[in-house]
Amino acid sequence: MKKIFVFCVLLFLFGSSVWASSDIPLTAQDHPDDDGSAIDLSWKYEGELPFSIWIERSENGKDFKLISKIAPAKTYITDGKNIKPGNQYYYRLKFVDAQSNIMASTDIVKAKSEAQWFNSRRTPLLVMVIILSSAILYFILSARKGKHLFIRKIAGLDTIEEAVGRATELGKPLLFVPGIMDLDNIQTLAGLNILSHLAKKVAKYDSTLYVPVSKSMVLSTAKEIVKEAYLKVGRPDAFDSDSVFYLTDDQFGYVAGVDGIIVREKPAATFYLGAFYAESLILAETGFESGAIQIAGTAMPSQIPFFVAACDYTLIGEELFAASAYLSDQPNQLGCLKGQDVGKALILITIFVGIILDILGINIITNFLQMK
């Protein structure tokens, strides 16, 4: 029975190629790495350029239906129209002129669509996900167990102490701006972590610190942080609850308010740590004008340049988070940072090995990474 079937199919294929008799090679294949909803067709047509190419499809090899008309210069197409995984599909192409006369056609070819269990092109991605996740998890867990993880001190943090010292000497206040975003922004959180460190120094030296904020949620958290800092240094009575205050939610309204404080109070140092937008340059300009030491930190790529140009020290992008992790001493933050460092080291090694191999004419690494 099976033999008869094979014979029939062969006969059919042979037969069909006789009446279509064409020398335009057409191949149909399951589209790789998908859910079985597409079939790739490719062909070579040499001859007078047609007006259009008609693609016809059938599920039984007989009743062909026109499924699409495509541009004449194309040599491949992925058919994804109502293809079901596991089904057999038959195709033929017709090359037609402007009056829809058939100039040439191809043989009938068939292909079976199949769904794959793994997208093999994404192997490098999977490898990287596994390495990075294990590194990050490993370091978080070991930090939780109390293992000491070394993080280099971020240079800008030294200046905090100096700035507080200078402020005390001059009898001038300090100003901390946590950006204009709310608590859901990790930059704001990182900034507040640094505020906690700063507030402790301020409490120790007995200087004054102003923290104007633009979001009510940030207000309560910042107040809590500064209060706790005074408590930790053992001077809860010295905490002035009005030193952390809300100005307004509006971007420029807030800037105008902070500007006013800088002009009136002439702080010895200003700290801008958090998420900043256009207000960065207005703040930095006013601070510069007043002669304050300015320390900034943000991960907003478009604002970093202004801070670098107008401030004395700037924590750039990831440095802000690293500084926060360094000061907070939380296993989650430290472990995560450490895990990312493993990623960076891996990337550097891959780049160097890749380049050396590339110079030797071996492209395995680049080919592997390209995911094509």
């Binding site: 490098p124 070394f150 992008g317 960076k344 550097l348 891959t350 890749g354 380049i355 680049t366 990474l369």
Partner: protein
């Protein structure tokens, strides 16, 4: 009438423009009023477009016209209402269910997509033969790309102190970072000036008619 209203509209636009620009002289009530109109209209616009462009076609219409085939959509509708419960302090914890769907989905997709586009592809783009190229400029450029990218990554490497050769490498990284920031600075200036040009084209063109809009 429509034409008069259009002309009136242009004048309204000019008045609001100067209301905002009055901030340059100093903060004042006129500016504050204009600012609040801006905030209010913006919020109203988002509100209406979210209803007309998302909730109506993707939720309301499928549910009302063909409930049988779209029964599952009841779930996101409930989660959406949970989200709005954030406004009511007593039950605002139910909004966490909705937030966790949004945050989880975004985190999962961002993890994979960022890793491929911003990490792996950028890494493989840095792997190249720095001795081959059609001219000196390209070869020099390749060396710059390799050295700049790797030293830049070293600058952001936090597990080792920046001393000795490692510190020197990180310093080289800073040089490249600063040149980058310089270019970013230049482009930001360009963007801000363009917005002012747009405004002046409006004032000089549509309003005063001195230049062709």
């Amino acid at each position: 009438m429509a034409l008069t209203m259009e002309r009136l509209g242009v004048w309204i636009g000019v008045a609001l423009t100067f209301a905002i620009y009055s901030f340059l002289y100093k903060d004042n009530p006129v500016y504050k009023i204009a600012e609040q109109i801006f905030v209010g209209i913006s919020a109203g616009y988002w509100f209406i477009y979210t209803i007309f462009n998302i909730l109506k076609p993707n939720l309301y219409t499928p549910l009302t016209s063909d409930f049988g085939n779209n029964t599952l959509l009841v779930l996101p509708a409930i989660l959406g209402i949970f989200m709005l419960c954030r406004l009511v302090p007593k039950i605002n914890w139910v909004s966490r269910y909705a937030i966790s769907v949004v945050v989880g989905t975004t985190a999962g997709l961002a993890l994979i997509r960022t890793l491929q586009s911003d990490v792996i592809t950028q890494m493989s783009e840095t792997i190249m033969n720095p001795f081959s190229g059609p001219n000196t400029a390209v070869i020099l450029g390749k060396w710059i790309l390799i050295i700049g990218t790797t030293t830049g990554i070293i600058y952001f490497f936090f597990s080792k102190k920046h001393t000795g050769a490692f510190g020197a490498t990180a310093k080289v990284g800073v040089v490249f970072l600063m040149i980058s920031f310089g270019a970013a600075f230049g482009y930001t200036v360009m963007a801000r000036i363009s917005l002012l040009i747009g405004r002046l084209q409006y004032l000089l063109g549509e309003w005063l008619g001195i230049i062709q809009p």
